[in-house]
Symmetry: C2
Subunit: 152 residues, 2 copies
DNA sequence: GGGCACTGTGTGCACACGCACGCACTCTCG
DNA sequence: CGAGAGTGCGTGCGTGTGCACACAGTGCCC
C-alpha cells in the first residue's frame, strides 16, 4: 500500500470510457491507501490483515485457506503468511480439518472479533469524509449496478 | 500488480455504502491487474511504465519528474526508477532543464510514442470484454459524476 | 491394495515499492 | 555577497508480494 494521496487525475484527451476506467483505478487505490494508512496508524494493522479478518468475521463456520484466497483479493501465499501472523497474535485460530488432513479450518478468536470491530469502526470513520458523505443514495445505487455488470 | 483475477466479492451483511466501497476497490484492482498482465504478456511492459508513458504522451512539452510524481499515482522514487528504465530502453529522453540545473525535462522519444500507441491499443482490447462493452453511456456518465464528487 | 494424478498448504527466491536520507542546486534575506 | 532554508532528484535499505516449487494427503482406477 501506498500511504499518500496523490494523483490529480486531470488527464487530457481521453475517451469517456477511458476516463471512467482511470477514475475507477484512481479512486480504488486512493481510498484503499487511505484506509490502510488509518488502520496502520490507529491499530498497527495492515490492510491485508484487515481483509482476512473482514471475510472471517462474516462467516459462521471456519473456512479453509484456499477459500480465503479465492474470495479475498489476496494470493494464496499471502493468505498463508497473513494467517500465520494473525495466529501469532492470537487473532485467529488454525485447527486442522477433521475430514481433510491437508486443510486447515481458520476462524477468528474472541480477541480477533473484538479487534476487527474496532478496526472496522476506524475504517468507516476514515471513509466517511472522502467517500460516504460525498455520495447520495442514487450514486451508491449506480455504483452497485456497475459492479453487478462487471462481476457477471 | 497481481496477475490473477480472483475475488468473487459476495460479502455478507454489509451496508450499501460499504458494499459500494468494496466493489470499487475490487473492480479497480481487478481491472488494473488484467491490464498489467496483458501489457506484460504482449509488450513486456509493466503497468507502472505504461502509466508514465501515458502521462508523457498527452503532454506537449517535456515535464519534470516531480510533475510525474504529483500527477501520476506513482511515488517520486518509483518515477525516478521507471524513467531510468525507460531511458535505458530509449523510450524516453532525459535532458537537463535550462532554467533549473536540478530539474530534468522528460519526454517520449519517437520509439516511445510508437510503443505507447501499440500498448494503448492492447489496453483497450484487454478492457473491452470486461469493462467497456459491459457498460452503456448512462453507466459511464454515472461513474464520471462519482469521480467528480470524490475528487473535490 | 497399489500406483498415479490432483488438491491444499507452506516456503525460498527474486523483484518492486515506499521511506528516509543525501547531494546538488536555487532562492531569499540581511 | 554569503549563509541558511527550501527544492528537485536519485539511491540504500527494509518490507511485502507473487511465482515456482516442495511436500503431505486424497481420490480414482485398474
Amino acid at each position: 500500500m501506498n500511504g499518500m494521496d496523490r494523483a490529480d487525475l486531470s488527464l487530457g484527451p481521453l475517451s469517456e470510457q477511458d476516463h471512467a476506467f482511470y477514475g475507477l483505478v484512481w479512486a480504488g487505490t486512493t481510498l484503499a491507501a487511505r484506509v490502510d494508512r488509518e488502520l496502520a496508524r490507529v491499530h498497527g494493522l495492515p490492510l491485508s490483515w484487515f481483509e482476512v479478518m473482514l471475510w472471517l468475521n462474516y462467516q459462521q463456520e471456519p473456512v479453509a485457506a484456499s477459500d480465503l484466497g479465492a474470495k479475498t483479493m489476496l494470493s494464496r501465499s499471502q493468505v498463508s503468511r497473513v494467517v500465520d501472523a494473525l495466529a501469532g497474535r492470537g487473532l485467529v485460530s488454525r485447527t486442522p480439518s477433521a475430514s481433510d488432513a491437508r486443510s486447515v479450518r481458520i476462524e477468528l478468536t474472541g480477541q480477533g472479533r473484538a479487534l476487527f470491530a474496532e478496526a472496522d469502526a476506524t475504517r468507516r470513520a476514515a471513509l466517511a469524509p472522502v467517500f460516504t458523505d460525498r455520495l447520495d443514495a442514487a450514486d451508491i445505487a449506480a455504483l452497485e449496478a456497475v459492479w453487478r455488470k462487471l462481476r457477471a
